[in-house]
Symmetry: C2
Subunit: 387 residues, 2 copies
């Protein structure tokens, strides 16, 4: 038998969302007004920075909401947090449709609210308001949620696209520099796999994007590099995901940068941020392409320099350890029907899938990653790792 | 944006599944042979009765499996059991595809394995082998799984149709009488909403179906009432669900018998079995139709007598308590976009949806349900509950 499902969702780039005069935050999916009580879930950082404005918004607009504030951070990406939310949804009598909760926060908060919403009553709609660059251009564009479990990243979760996602670039103006850098790691991935224009923007404006948090001092109106980078990253991701939202096809170019990084990220927690390990994985995968003659040395150096220009390290001791890389690849293959399905670059902005990566290639790449640990921008790389 | 998903699944009526000469149990979805280690999850009852045959099956066929045996019963329909399974899947290195676990057991086991499979790696395929009548004709035909949470039935769960369901009628030959009766409660529902032929089979053969556990002494080959009842119940359910597998349409005739029963079942746990409360809800809803003139008194009496003929009580003190019924309806409405979406019979085998049920109608129906408590088969009902 065959059954089909169609899912409608909107991803809206918007400005000044917490201004009480802006109706968007209070609207239900389909832009209907909201009448019954809804749950607003925030992480601690959001509550600290925006809590007053958010409470004022719902109060001025006379919308009935209850609040729940949870800790963010990857160590709180747990089933316990998911259950805290589910319990609260149950306590306030959340309906199956009509009273979707609103998640305002970073990626971890989005994940736990998304998972709670996908389990409560076997799935209710929710509204997503991501507040970090990483969540805005990556996690919140996807349909996935998840929690870490038994030492594995996202080992439990679901696919559950929320019908409404509101992305307000002004919300990241207060982020620490390191979080902007981490978010740009995902923009780098998107640039490398499909968007040479985005790559040039990152290459040219990297340091400035970090320094001014993609704000362009434009009040959201004019097109500066921040706005352009964000829009290209979001629409590139949305375009890729739409055709394969439930990952029925396991060959996904958006998994670029996500082959070796998941195991390393979990092992390094909380030392490295998600976008930081993704950027390192992007560089490692670029080395593999370089050694196959699919990237020129000049292209490879541009990638490394652009990574560094955004304040991201291209390597880390774990990415230089062949045994770690082999273990990470083996674990990822369990997630890809026992295949490598490895995305490699063929120039900047184009990719192919390979399934024949050898241990020798990984060893050689690990040697280049070792050199990258030791060499700063002025250093000269052998690029062959002595292989 | 819009994304579409297509899901393929097979529901196979089969006989003598644990015979080592029958390849079906060992095959992966798509009938491919299985090579890597898979998890087989059983409930205690299954392990006790069939454990030896099941272990022999996999051993003779040289298939790599690990076993996990869990307690069944509604009090074990918990997230803890789901996590025990998820942990075991992770320990044995279950892949995203290619190593689907096999769930052999009743409805609770199917629910917890289904939910664990739907969460592990954000969803892996699994194979379902239901071993109770209720699970065979109802739960295992649907795409749903779930656990009870915070006192609410199925408050957490997902929709996740397994690609392969194997239904072997010979497995229910050892069930206690009461479990057969409970399963027939769901067959009664299916008969009332869409299958007058099935209703006549239940009416005519009720006591015999219970006594011989639908076995027909036919070794699966000839068409007796047991086989016919099971096939009609399964295919009726499968047909209804296919067009609305994710319940995007909240008006579902298969929710007949499931409007008042969920709250009452949870309150009565473990005194009443699922099919027992479903049958009572079917009768209550028939009273509502009777009072609206949509069922004749003769049709109503046939329904009551058929219910009793299968050894099921048509009423219970909680179904005779108007305040309980109102609370139950209110809770169900939260699950139906604040609408009643109440399925009522228009004769046997036809339905309409109503949204205008009044408290007075519920009160009158509760009085008839009180009379049904006091009257046995020989008694005379007023049928109007004095209204």
């Amino acid at each position: 038998m065959t059954a089909s499902r169609q899912v409608d969702y909107e991803i809206i780039e918007i400005y000044d969302l917490f201004n009480p005069g802006n109706p968007e935050l209070g609207l239900l999916p389909g832009r209907k007004p909201s009448k019954l009580t809804r749950l607003v879930v925030m992480d601690h950082t959001v509550d600290e920075i925006f809590g007053e404005r958010i409470r004022n918004y719902f109060s001025v607009n006379r919308l009935f909401v209850e609040y729940l504030t949870l800790p963010g951070g990857d160590e709180n990406k747990t089933l316990d947090q998911v259950l805290r939310i589910a319990r609260r949804l149950s306590e306030i009598g959340t309906h199956r449709v009509g009273t979707p909760p609103i998640a305002i926060g970073g990626g971890v908060l989005q994940d736990v609210v998304g998972m709670a919403s996908s389990l409560y009553r076997r799935g209710i709609p929710y509204v997503r308001v991501p507040t970090t660059l990483l969540a805005q251009i990556d996690g919140s564009v996807s349909a996935k949620n998840g929690v870490n479990y038994e030492g594995f990243r996202n080992r439990l979760g679901t696919f559950a696209p929320p019908p409404r996602t509101l992305i307000d670039r002004s919300l990241i103006a207060t982020l620490p520099e390191r979080q902007i850098q981490s978010g740009l790691g995902e923009a780098l991935k998107m640039a490398l796999i499909k968007d040479p224009v985005l790559f040039e923007l990152l290459e040219e404006h990297g340091p400035q994007l970090v320094a001014d948090r993609l704000q362009d001092s434009d009040n959201g109106n004019d097109a500066g590099p921040g706005r352009e980078v964000m829009h290209r990253a979001i629409s590139g991701m949305a375009e890729e995901l739409q055709k394969n939202l439930w990952e029925t096809d396991l060959r996904r170019i958006v998994d670029y940068g996500h082959t070796f990084s998941p195991v390393i990220e979990m092992q390094a927690l909380p030392a490295l941020l998600h976008g930081e390990v993704v950027a390192m994985d992007c560089v490692l995968s670029a080395v593999l392409a370089l050694h196959r003659g699919m990237l020129t040395p000049a292209q490879f150096e541009r990638i490394v320099n652009t990574t560094r220009g955004m304040g991201l390290a291209p390597s880390h001791p774990m990415f230089a350890d062949p045994s770690v890389l082999r273990r990470a690849l083996a674990d990822t293959m369990r997630h890809r029907d026992n295949q490598q399905h490895l995305t490699l670059l063929q120039g900047i902005g184009r990719t192919i899938f390979v399934n024949d990566l050898t241990d020798t290639e990984l060893d050689c790449a690990a040697q280049v990653m070792t050199e990258l640990l030791e060499t700063d921008e002025s250093g000269v790389l052998s690029l062959q790792g002595g292989c």
